[in-house]
């Protein structure tokens, strides 16, 4: 039993490593594509970050990003890369959840679910003030 558990743990870790690698790679490639497109369009402009303008932009929500992607907008392509990057550690949690379910480790299924719930809460919890 003990030995069996070790094997699944190890396999799971390898899989998680792969997921992280591909997630990071995909996010980087998308950021490069969007970034080059962005520089071609507005590379000669003047950067304006000295004062914070916050929310109205389309790239602050998932629907906004999808709309921007459909229009081929460079900023939203970059932001898709950012979203994928943010998703990699969250995906890692989901994979760990499956691994604990497979091991029938109830305590850790609950603990992992709590962590996931906290993240989901912050995603949809109306924290956007």
């Amino acid at each position: 039993m003990e030995k069996n558990k070790k094997v699944t743990d190890y396999d799971m870790e390898q899989l998680i490593g792969q997921v992280l690698r591909y997630g990071v790679l995909t996010s980087g490639i998308i950021a490069i594509i969007g970034g080059i497109w962005y520089l071609i369009q507005s590379g000669s402009g003047i950067p304006n970050y000295t004062s914070f303008s916050g929310e109205p932009a389309g790239y602050t929500s998932l629907t906004g990003i999808i709309k921007g992607l459909a229009a081929g907008s460079a900023k939203e392509i970059i932001q898709l890369g950012v979203v994928i990057l943010i998703a990699t550690p969250i995906l890692r949690i989901v994979f760990s959840l499956f691994s604990f379910i497979l091991e029938k480790d109830r305590l850790y299924v609950v603990i992992t679910l709590i962590v996931l719930l906290i993240i989901i809460f912050s995603m949809f919890g109306g924290l956007k003030v």
């Binding site: 003047i46 970050y49 000295t50 914070f52 602050t60 906290i118």
Partner: protein, 277 residues
């Protein structure tokens, strides 16, 4: 300066941040904030967004290398993530009510603390007897060494959990991984052996940063024009760092880096007190 030049300089800066961050174990975020605010006069809120992105990039980027070695204690990381993610959400809420100058001062204090922690000697030896809670929560584990499998036990789980909550709040408020506080909780309070605490802390940094990043993205802190050179630069830097790490002695590098961030920290605190943000 036009956008093209701004991007190229930022790309180089992010590369160096990722490199230094992975060599010293401090993560890419700590260098990004001063670089953007003091170097480019970018509003600190955009800098916080960029630092979160950088923290996730370093964490996921180097975690894929660490996972292979199999020394991350996933159960310990997951249990403590309840504290760090809850803290991070609290920090992201607190950020709305915290004046930016206070954020800058707090960041400076945190930098000095991180510099001191980098130089501290860490526990290498494993405890043989753990506390009751460590058995109940199945937090004890083992890791491979040249002399064979070394098993370790943990103590003071409650203390570690509390420090982790503070680490979470600070990382949600400041946009950094608070790797230094995470190591303090695991190393000093719970006595996790150094090789396990470093990788487990790295695993947690990504998750903690993601918990607050989803909030900051919606608030508009993460600007694509800053995010893309930061992602590419930090990833490339962290990758170079993980290759170099096996070949060079980082001891003197850590001392130089600690002195440098202490000077930057003093600058951040000074500017914060004088309301320059």
């Amino acid at each position: 300066m036009n956008i093209l030049l701004f991007t190229l300089v930022l790309l180089l800066g992010a590369y160096l941040a990722g490199l230094a961050g992975s060599l010293t174990g401090l993560g890419g975020g700590v260098v990004i904030i001063p670089l953007l605010t003091l170097g480019f006069h970018v509003d600190i809120r955009y800098a916080i967004g960029a630092a979160l992105v950088a923290s996730i990039a370093t964490s996921s980027g180097s975690a894929s290398a660490y996972v292979k070695e199999g020394i991350t204690n996933v159960r310990l990381g997951m249990f403590l993530e309840i504290a760090t993610t809850a803290g991070a959400v609290m920090g992201a809420i607190l950020a709305i009510y915290t004046p930016v100058n206070l954020v800058a001062i707090l960041f400076g204090v945190m930098l000095i603390f991180s510099a001191a922690m980098t130089l501290r000697k860490k526990h290498e030896d494993a405890l043989q007897e753990g506390s009751k809670l460590s058995y109940k929560l199945k937090l004890n584990g083992s890791y491979p060494t040249k002399e064979g499998e070394v098993s370790y036990k943990l103590k003071n789980i409650g203390g570690g959990f509390s420090i982790m909550t503070i680490a979470g709040v600070l990382s949600g408020l400041l946009g950094i991984g608070s790797g230094a506080l995470k190591v303090l909780a695991m190393d000093t309070a719970m006595r996790v052996p150094f090789r396990v605490s470093t990788t487990t802390s790295n695993f947690m940094v990504g998750v903690t940063a993601a918990a607050s990043a989803v909030v900051y993205l919606q608030r508009g802190y993460i600007d694509p024009g800053i995010a893309f050179p930061v992602i590419i630069g930090v990833l490339a830097g962290a990758f170079t760092g993980s290759k170099l790490l096996m070949r060079i002695n980082v001891k003197s590098l850590k001392v130089i880096f600690s002195i440098a961030i202490t000077l930057i920290a003093i600058n951040m605190i000074y500017n914060g007190i004088n309301h320059k943000f």
